[in-house]
C-alpha cells in the first residue's frame, strides 16, 4: 500500500503543526490508525488494547468515564457534537469509530477516513448484546478477533461471578438513578446499559418502564415513593447544590429508601458506554450492595 508515502507526508504535517512527534501509538498491530468520535467506541477500542490516535472530549471523558484510562498521546478532538475536523485530519486516522448518534456527521467524517458505526443504544433494544457485538465487530475490523472474543467472554464471566456473589444477599429490587437537580431524577430502565447489567447480575430493576433519559424533566423525586422497598444506586454526576437541596428536602428525607439508608452513591461511570462501562458498573453496584451499611448520600 502507500504506507511509506503516508509516513513522510505525516511527518511534514506533524512538523508544520508544531508537534514533531505525532504519536505512533495509535498504530495497532494491523497497522491501522483509529480515531473515536463515540465514547463507547473509545472505551471498546482501549479494552481491545488499541490506543486511538484521537478521540473527542477527553477532559470530560477522564472525569466521568474514568476507566479505561486514556493515554496522554491521544489527541483531543473537541465536542462530540461538533468535532474539530482540522484536528482529526492532522491526526491522520484511517478508521473512525462512530455510532448511530452521529449520522449527521458521517459525510464529513468520511472525507477524512473510513467510518465504522458501532450502534449500542437503540430505543427498546437491550444494549448489552449490542455492546458485545460492537466489540466483536471492532475486533474483526482491526484484526483483534481473539482479543475481542476474550473481552466479551471475560466481561460475561466477571458479571456472572459478581452476580453469584450477590445471590441471596439482595432480595429487594434495585433502582439506578441520576439526579438532574434536587427535584428531578432520571431512571435507568431495561433499555439502558445499567438496566441490562442489573438484569445480568440477577437483580430486579425497580424501574419497570423504559429509561427516562433525556434533557427534559423526566421524574419528580416523588415518583421514588412508588418504590418503597427499592435500593437506590445513584450514578454521578452529583453536584454539590443537589446534595444540599436533598438535605433540605422533607420529601426526600421521608422516602423509605432514604430513612432506612438504602441509597448508595457509586463512582462515575459512562451512562452511554460499551462493555467496559457495563463491567465497571457491575463492579461498582456489587461493591455498593455488599457494603454492610449503605451510606445515605455523598
Amino acid at each position: 500500500m502507500t504506507g511509506r508515502a503516508t509516513i513522510t507526508r505525516r511527518r511534514v504535517l506533524g512538523l508544520a503543526a508544531g508537534s514533531a512527534l505525532l504519536p505512533r501509538l495509535g498504530r495497532a498491530e494491523s497497522g491501522r490508525r483509529v480515531a473515536a468520535i463515540d465514547w463507547a467506541g473509545l472505551e471498546t477500542a482501549l479494552a481491545l488494547g488499541i490506543v486511538p490516535v484521537a478521540a473527542t472530549e477527553l477532559i470530560q471523558f477522564r472525569k466521568t468515564v474514568v476507566e479505561p484510562e486514556v493515554p496522554d498521546s491521544v489527541i483531543d478532538l473537541g465536542l462530540r457534537g461538533s468535532p474539530n475536523y482540522e484536528a482529526l485530519t492532522l491526526a491522520e486516522p484511517d478508521l473512525i469509530l462512530t455510532s448511530n448518534y452521529y449520522e449527521g456527521q458521517r459525510a464529513s467524517l468520511e472525507r477524512v477516513a473510513d467510518t465504522l458505526s458501532l450502534p449500542i443504544y437503540r430505543p427498546g433494544v437491550p444494549p448489552y448484546r449490542l455492546a458485545a457485538e460492537a466489540a466483536l465487530t471492532l475486533g474483526r475490523a482491526l484484526d483483534r478477533e481473539a482479543e475481542a472474543r476474550a473481552v466479551v467472554a471475560g466481561a460475561g464471566a466477571e458479571i456472572a461471578r459478581l452476580g453469584e456473589s450477590l445471590s441471596g444477599a439482595v432480595r429487594r429490587p434495585v433502582l439506578a438513578i441520576n439526579f438532574g437537580d434536587a427535584r428531578h431524577v432520571r431512571a435507568f430502565g431495561d433499555d439502558s446499559m445499567f438496566g441490562a447489567v442489573l438484569q445480568r447480575l440477577g437483580l430486579r430493576n425497580a424501574w419497570a418502564s423504559q429509561s427516562s433519559y433525556s434533557a427534559a424533566a423526566p421524574l419528580g423525586i416523588e415518583a421514588l415513593a412508588r418504590m418503597p422497598d427499592a435500593i437506590a444506586i445513584v450514578v454521578p454526576p452529583l453536584p454539590s447544590d443537589v446534595v444540599r437541596g436533598l438535605d433540605d428536602s422533607a420529601l426526600w428525607q421521608a422516602l423509605p429508601m432514604v430513612r432506612e439508608k438504602r441509597v448508595s452513591v457509586i463512582e462515575p461511570v459512562n451512562h452511554f458506554g460499551g462493555l467496559p462501562a457495563a463491567l465497571r458498573f457491575a463492579r461498582l453496584v456489587t461493591a455498593a450492595l455488599l457494603r454492610p451499611e449503605s451510606v445515605r448520600h455523598g
Partner: protein
C-alpha cells in the same frame, strides 16, 4: 351592554379558575384517597407527598404567577410600555447567565447565594437595557429591542459556557424550561414573602405610579421624584422576577399576558389593575401547570411548565396586538439623518471588498492547532483548506444574504431597526426546520431548505397580515415581529426540552455552526446567494422610492403593494437560506446595512453592495473566532456575531436619539 360584557368576563375567569381547581383536586385526591388500600407506611408516605410535593406545587404556581403578574404590571406601567415584562427585558436571561456562571465557576457560592446571583444577573441585564435606551427617553420599541438583544446574547453566552466546558448540564436545561415540581414549602414561602413586600411597595407607590403613566414633564410638574420612583419600582419588579427565576426557573409570558388581560377584562384604574394582574397571573400559571400535569405520562412530564406558558402566551400576544391601545405610543422618529454621502462610493466599496478579502485570507490561513497558533502554508494548507474553504464560503455567503435581507427590510418598512433577526424570520425558519425534522425521517438537504424557507416566508406573511390590519406602521410591524419571534422561540424551547435526537440537532442549529459544511454545501450556498443577490439591482428603484411613503410612491406610479410583497418574499428567502447554515441569531442583518450607510453609501444599490461585503466579512470573522478561541472545542458562531454586533446596536440606539430629542 358594558354591564353584560363585565359579567361575561367574570364568568370566563371563574370558569378558568374552576377548571384549574378541578385539576388540583384531581391531583390531591390521587394522594388523599388512594383507590386501593395501601400498607400503612406507604399511606403515610402518601401524606408526605401530598403535604410536601402536591400542595406546595399548587401554591408555588399561584404565588409565582402572581409575582410575575405584578412584576409585569409594574414594569409596563413605569416604562409606559405594554410589552415590558421580565423576559422581554432580559431579566430571566440575565439571571440564567449569572446562575450558569455560578454553577460552573463558583459552585460553593451557589450553595448560599443562588437568589443573589439571579438578582445580580437580572439587574445587570435591566441596567444595561436602561443605559442603552436612556437617551431615547426609554422609548418602548427601543427598550424591547435592546431587551431582546441583551436576552439573546445572554442566552447564547449560557449555551457557549455549557458547550465550552463540555458539560451538558441537565439542570440548566431543566431550569431553562421552568419546572414547578416541589419537595418543600421553601420556594413557596420565599416567593410569597417577596410578593407581599412587592405588593406593599406597589400599594404605597400607587399615586406616583399613576403619575408615571403620564409623560415626564407632567409627572415632574406634579412633584414626583421621577427617577428615584422609577428606579425603585423597576428594582422591586426585577427582584420579584429574579426570585421566581432563582426558585423555579424561567417562566415566560405570564408577566406579559396578565396585565394585558387585566386591562382587556375591564380593569381600568390603577388600583383595579394592581389587584387583577397578580390574580390573573396566578390563575394562568395554576391552570397551565395543572394541564401539564394532566398530560404527563407515568414516565414524567414531556413539556416543562415554563415552556408551556410560552406556548399559550405567544398566540395570545399576537391576538392582543391589534387590540392593544398603545398608550401614548411615541412614533419611531429614529430614522437616522441622511449621513454624509461619500463622493467616491465605489472606492469605498472597493475598500470593503479588500477588507473582506483580508478576513477571508486570515480565516483560511491562520488557526490554532495542537501546538498553538499557526500560519499554515504549503501542503498543510492544502489539507486544511478542504475544511476551512467550505466554512469560510458558507459563512461569507450567509453573512451576505443576511445583510441583503436586512437592507431590504429596513428600506421596505422605512424602519431603521428592522432586520431578519428582529422580525422573527430566522426563528420562523427554525420552526419550519423543526417540522421537517419531525415529520420526515432523515430529511435531506433539499427538504430542510424548503421547510425552512416555508417557515420564514410564512412568518413574514403572517406578520404582514397582522400589521396590514392597522396599516403598515413601523411600530406594529416590529412588535408583530417580536411577538412572532417569541412564539417561535417558545416552540423551539419546548422541542429542545424533549431531549430527543431532533432536539440536539435543533440545539446545534440554534447556536449556529458551519462545522459540518462540506464542498457541496459551500457551492450550494454560494449559488443561492449569487442567484438571490443578482435580483437586488432590479429592486433598486423600488427601494429608492418606497421609503418616501405610500403617497409619493403611488404618485410616481409604483404598484406599492406588489412591490412590498415581492421584496418581503425575497428577504424571506435570503434569510431562510442563510439561517439554515448559521442559525437564526446573528444580528449581522441589522448592523451591516447601517455600517454601509454610515460609511457614506446612501443609494440603495451602493448600500446593498456595501452591506453584502460587510456582512460577509463580519460573518467570516465570527466563524473564525468560534473555531479558534477554545480550540479544539468549538463555540457557537451566533455568540460571536452577536458580540460583534451588540456594541454597535448600543451606540446606534444612543446616538439617533441625541439628535431627534
Amino acid at each position: 351592554m358594558a354591564e353584560r360584557v363585565g359579567v361575561n368576563r367574570i364568568l370566563l375567569w371563574s370558569g378558568l379558575a374552576l377548571a384549574a381547581a378541578l385539576l388540583s383536586i384531581r391531583q390531591i385526591a390521587g394522594h388523599a384517597a388512594p383507590a386501593i388500600p395501601l400498607p400503612p407506611d406507604v399511606a403515610a408516605l402518601d401524606g408526605v407527598i401530598l403535604y410536601h410535593s402536591v400542595l406546595p406545587r399548587i401554591a408555588v404556581a399561584l404565588v409565582a404567577g402572581a409575582a410575575l403578574g405584578l412584576s409585569g404590571l409594574l414594569l409596563q406601567r413605569v416604562l409606559r410600555n405594554p410589552l415590558a415584562e421580565p423576559s422581554t427585558l432580559g431579566v430571566s436571561a440575565g439571571a440564567q447567565l449569572a446562575l450558569t456562571l455560578g454553577m460552573l465557576y463558583a459552585p460553593a457560592l451557589m450553595d448560599h447565594a443562588r437568589e443573589g446571583m439571579a438578582l445580580a444577573g437580572g439587574l445587570a441585564a435591566v441596567g444595561l437595557i436602561l443605559a442603552m435606551t436612556w437617551r431615547r427617553g426609554l422609548e418602548p420599541v427601543a427598550v424591547v429591542l435592546a431587551g431582546m438583544m441583551v436576552a439573546l446574547t445572554a442566552t447564547m453566552g449560557s449555551a457557549a459556557l455549557i458547550l465550552a466546558n463540555g458539560e451538558y448540564l441537565f439542570s440548566i436545561f431543566l431550569w431553562g424550561g421552568g419546572a414547578l415540581a416541589q419537595q418543600s414549602w421553601g420556594p413557596t414561602l420565599t416567593i410569597a414573602l417577596r410578593l407581599l413586600i412587592g405588593a406593599g411597595a406597589a400599594f404605597l407607590l400607587m399615586r406616583p405610579l399613576a403619575i408615571l403613566g403620564l409623560d415626564d414633564a407632567s409627572a415632574r410638574s406634579l412633584g414626583v421624584a421621577l427617577n428615584a420612583t422609577r428606579f425603585g419600582v423597576i428594582g422591586v419588579a426585577v427582584w420579584l422576577a429574579a426570585s421566581v427565576t432563582a426558585e423555579v426557573g424561567v417562566i415566560g409570558f405570564v408577566g406579559l399576558a396578565a396585565p394585558a388581560l387585566a386591562h382587556l377584562s375591564g380593569a381600568r384604574t390603577q388600583g383595579q389593575r394592581l389587584v387583577a394582574a397578580p390574580l390573573i397571573g396566578a390563575l394562568l400559571l395554576w391552570l397551565t401547570d395543572g394541564l401539564v400535569q394532566l398530560l404527563a405520562g407515568v414516565d414524567g412530564e414531556r413539556v416543562p411548565t415554563g415552556a408551556a406558558t410560552a406556548l399559550l402566551g405567544g398566540p395570545l400576544l399576537l391576538w392582543l396586538l391589534p387590540r392593544l391601545r398603545m398608550f401614548e405610543w411615541p412614533s419611531l422618529n429614529s430614522r437616522p439623518a441622511p449621513s454624509r454621502r461619500s463622493p467616491h462610493p465605489y472606492r469605498l466599496i472597493a475598500l470593503f471588498a479588500v477588507l473582506g478579502a483580508v478576513a477571508v485570507g486570515l480565516a483560511l490561513t491562520v488557526g490554532t492547532g495542537p501546538g498553538g497558533w499557526t500560519l499554515s502554508t504549503g501542503p498543510l494548507l492544502d489539507t486544511l483548506l478542504g475544511w476551512r474553504g467550505p466554512r469560510v464560503a458558507v459563512a461569507a455567503a450567509a453573512g451576505a444574504m443576511l445583510a441583503a435581507a436586512g437592507m431590504l427590510l429596513q428600506r421596505v418598512t422605512a424602519n431603521p431597526l428592522a432586520s431578519p433577526e428582529i422580525l422573527g424570520v430566522g426563528t420562523g425558519a427554525g420552526v419550519g426546520l423543526t417540522a421537517a425534522l419531525f415529520l420526515v425521517t432523515a430529511p435531506g438537504f433539499g427538504v430542510q431548505l424548503a421547510a425552512s424557507a416555508a417557515g420564514a416566508v410564512l412568518t413574514l406573511a403572517a406578520m404582514l397580515a397582522l400589521s396590514l390590519r392597522a396599516g403598515f406602521g413601523p411600530e406594529r410591524l416590529l412588535l408583530a415581529g417580536i411577538a412572532m419571534s417569541a412564539l417561535c422561540s417558545a416552540v423551539l424551547t419546548a422541542v429542545i426540552a424533549t431531549g430527543s435526537p431532533q432536539a440536539f440537532a435543533l440545539l446545534r442549529w440554534l447556536s449556529g455552526s458551519t462545522n459540518e459544511a462540506g464542498p457541496g454545501d459551500a457551492w450550494f450556498c454560494i449559488g443561492v446567494a449569487m442567484l438571490l443577490l443578482a435580483t437586488l439591482p432590479l429592486t433598486a428603484k423600488w427601494l429608492e422610492i418606497l421609503p418616501l411613503g405610500d403617497v409619493t410612491a403611488r404618485a410616481v406610479g409604483l404598484p406599492v403593494r406588489r412591490c412590498r410583497v415581492l421584496l418581503v418574499l425575497l428577504a424571506g428567502l435570503l434569510t431562510a437560506a442563510a439561517a439554515l447554515f448559521v442559525g437564526p441569531l446573528s444580528f449581522i442583518g441589522l448592523i451591516a446595512p447601517h455600517l454601509a450607510r454610515l460609511a457614506g453609501l446612501g443609494r440603495p444599490l451602493q448600500q446593498g453592495i456595501g452591506a453584502v461585503l460587510i456582512g460577509a466579512g463580519l460573518m467570516v470573522v465570527s466563524d473564525w473566532l468560534a473555531r479558534t478561541v477554545a480550540f479544539p472545542y468549538q463555540l457557537p458562531l451566533g455568540l460571536f456575531a452577536a458580540l460583534l454586533a451588540g456594541p454597535y446596536l448600543v451606540w446606534l440606539l444612543g446616538r439617533s436619539e441625541a439628535r431627534s430629542r
